[in-house]
Each structure stands twice: as C-alpha cells, then as structure tokens.
Point group: C2
C-alpha cells in the first residue's frame, strides 16, 4: 500500500546515507520493558572504547530512554512518535540529521516498545534484531512468527530471572527453530551481564563485515 | 480515516447486540506476556459460580490462550488476526457469533499483546482495561498516555515480583495520576492471587450496573 511504498523509498535513502558514512545500523525490536534500553546501556559501556556507537530512541512519549543513554554517550537522539506504534523511515532520517554520522561506526535504533508493528517498517538498517524476555512467557516466538522470520538475530533477555518464572527454555528454542531453523539466538541478561560478550562480539563482527 | 469509521460502525452493532443479550463486555489491553491470560484463568476460577463468563482471545497466531482458558469454561473462542496488531470490531463480531451470548453475563476480550494499537479500536466493549506488569519497568504509563486516558480501569500485575525488580510503585502511581487523576488502579498478582478479590468485585459491580 502507498504508505509502505513511500516509507521504503525513504528507508533506501537512509540506507544509502548510512553506507556512505560507513555506519552499520541495527533496528532493535522488542516488547515494552523487555530491556532494550538496559541492554543498550550495558552495550555502550562495553563497546565504548572499540566502536563509536550512537543511539536513536523511539517512544510514543517522554525522553526517558534518551536521558538514560546520554549518560554513556553524547551520540543520542530521542524521537517521539506520538499516537503511532512504530518508528518510520522519515522519523529516522530526521533523527540521523541531528547525529554526526561521520563520528560513528554503529547506529542502534531502539524502536518503540512493540513486538508487532515495527517488523514491517524498513528504517534503512542492516539487520533487524528481535528481543524477547524471560518474564513474557516462552510462547512469544510462536505468537510472533513474522518477527522471527524478519530478524537477523534473536535475543532472550532477563535470563537471570529464569529461576523465578515458569519459562521453558527448551520449548522456546524449539519454537524458534521450527519457525526458522538456524537463526542465531543469544540468551543474555542486561542486569548480570551474562551473554553480553557474545552480543558485543556479534556487533563487532557486523561492523567489520559492513563498515 | 475510513478504516476507523467502518470499524466504529461495526463496534456500535456489537455494542447493541451485547446489550440486547444482557452481556457486559470488557476489552483487556496489555503488553505481550503482561499476564492477561493468567489473570483470566484465575478470574474464571473465582467468578465461575457467580457469573457466566466468556472469553474472546485475540492473537496473531496459535490457539494457545484459548486452549488454556478452555480448561475453565466452554465459552471460549480464539481469533487469529494474522499480520495485524489489534483485534477489530469485525473479528469480534465473528467471534461473538460462535459464542452463546444468551448464556453469558460477562464477555472478556483478551486483545492482542500490544500496549498501543488496540487503544484506538472500539470493539463494542463497555470498558477498556489497561494492564501493566511489574517486570516491564515503572515508566510504562508515562510512555503510554493514550492507554491511560482511554481506560476505565488500570491493572498492575506481577506485584509478587516487586522484591526482585527495580520498580518504583510510588513513581508509577504518580505518573498514572498526573495523566489522569483518580483513575482506578488495582495492583494484583495472577500467580499469588493478591488483589484478585478487588478485581472480581469490580467486575461484579460492572455487571450489576450494566446487565
Ligand atoms: N532482572 C532483569 N531485569 C531487567 C533486565 N533488563 C532489563 N530489566 C528491567 O526491565 C525493566 C525495563 O527495562 P527497559 O530497559 O526500560 O526496557 P525497554 O525495553 O527499553 O522498555 P521500552 O523502551 O519502554 O519499551 C527495568 O525495570 C529494567 O531494570 C535483565 O536482564 N534482568
Ligand atoms: N510472577 C508472576 N508471573 C506471572 C504473573 N502473571 C503472569 N505471569 C507469567 O507471565 C508469563 C506470561 O503470562 P500470560 O498469561 O501468557 O501473558 P499474556 O499477557 O496473556 O500474554 P499474550 O497473550 O501472549 O500477550 C507466564 O510465564 C506467566 O506465568 C504474575 O502475577 N506473577
Ligand atoms: Mg527503552
Ligand atoms: Mg494471553
Ligand atoms: Zn502499527
Ligand atoms: Zn496497529
């Protein structure tokens, strides 16, 4: 439909601009409170010296996420989408204009908290990363197959809470595999730091492959 | 826009049909994994003898929620919305057709796991109920003001996990109050049963007021 076609044209322009500037870009998609910002706080800490990382944070309202991330990097911009349910390529283009792309190796877009609508909107990223969390229940991949199909990487956050919640990790992994065999899955905790090294290695490799 | 106008016409027909049948209806809106189904499992158990309760469960894919609820009542129907992000009035009308409304006092619609898109779509309900959970972080009301403004009742689920998560209940309540002073808020746990009596009382009252 027309809105999507227009979006994809702008997304392609974003993609071109990012590649011209040598910036790798990921689009992080997950439920409200799955721990996207917490993960990015840890990521900025860990990668800070190796890679120059910028963040574009999308939310309906508030600048709380950008405020949290600003403690770790000056390269942060908040987009408020208002009564919308996903970032679009035009908003990302505007966000990119207020960042110094020449100073960055990696741009992480933290999409609006929503497992569904962001999946269908190209922003110009290299990879969509889908994030689940252990407190949401183990059936979320089965209920959100389009995200599993679209993502280049899946994350399971909050694994530190597994002892406290009825989450069947085996079933979760099987459901992921039956939708998309072989898709990379990293199990981690933004609070304890478990799995963050694997995540950072993945990010570094992506930047080296697509500088 | 046209889609919304068509939806609202069907929603009004649903509303009329429900009132003709003497069925009170709520539209339960919350993030993926906030505990909607778990709450309804407990609710069906507790209300089972006083009120005849039916559930219409919406998900992109799977019948897992309907399967869970079928253990507690025969009055359950699952709607799979596919690549959509919210139930619409037409889908609810179809769901209502496969329920025996004459046998029901209360119909609970469990909307697709999504804090945003369902807010704008009238389904024919008497009240929209917004559900947050303690594992999502205390900033969700501030980030989702339209849900707070649209809801007739707000729930905070998973309060049993408060000792394990950095959730500031005072800040949460203040944010709710500054968006909408005096909106009812029930803090509960679908796992321990805390607060469920208050929730069931609210439901009973609603059914008595709008039989
Ligand atoms: N136990 C535990 N809690 C976590 C973890 N990651 C995040 N949290 C908590 O989860 C809540 C939400 O974290 P956020 O980082 O705000 O989540 P988010 O996905 O950015 O939320 P939105 O941007 O609003 O969609 C906070 O209370 C965090 O402390 C984790 O790995 N383990
Ligand atoms: N500790 C705790 N866990 C809960 C509570 N309520 C639900 N859960 C857990 O949270 C996870 C998700 O519960 P569901 O009932 O499937 O959540 P939902 O909102 O129906 O999920 P969707 O329909 O997929 O959006 C499950 O692992 C539940 O056991 C609660 O009050 N306390
Ligand atoms: Mg965030
Ligand atoms: Mg459910
Ligand atoms: Zn949407
Ligand atoms: Zn939507």
């Amino acid at each position: 439909e027309n809105v999507l076609k227009l979006n994809d044209e702008v997304a392609q322009q974003n993609r071109h601009q990012l590649r011209e500037a040598g910036v790798t870009c990921i689009n992080l998609i997950g439920s409200p409170g799955s721990g996207k910002t917490a993960l990015l706080e840890r990521t900025l800490e860990m990668l800070g010296s190796d890679l120059a990382v910028g963040v574009l944070a999308g939310d309906m309202a508030t600048t709380r996420d950008a405020n949290r991330l600003a403690a770790f990097t000056p390269h942060v911009v908040q987009i408020n989408v208002g009564k919308s349910c996903h970032l679009d390529a035009n908003q990302v283009r505007q966000g990119m204009n207020s960042l110094d792309l020449t100073a960055l190796d990696l741009l992480i877009i933290e999409n609006v908290g929503n497992l569904i609508c962001p999946v269908g909107f190209d922003l110009g990223q290299d990879v969509k990363v889908g994030m689940f969390s252990a407190t949401e229940g183990d059936d979320k991949p089965a209920k959100h197959p389009y995200l599993v199909l679209e993502a280049g990487l899946l994350l399971l956050n909050k694994i530190d809470l597994l002892p406290h919640v009825p989450f069947d990790v085996t079933r979760f992994r099987e459901d992921v595999g039956s939708i998309r065999e072989g898709i990379p899955l990293i199990e981690l905790s933004a609070v304890t730091g478990d799995g963050l090294d694997v995540w950072c290695t993945w990010l570094r490799r992506l930047c080296n492959e697509r500088p």
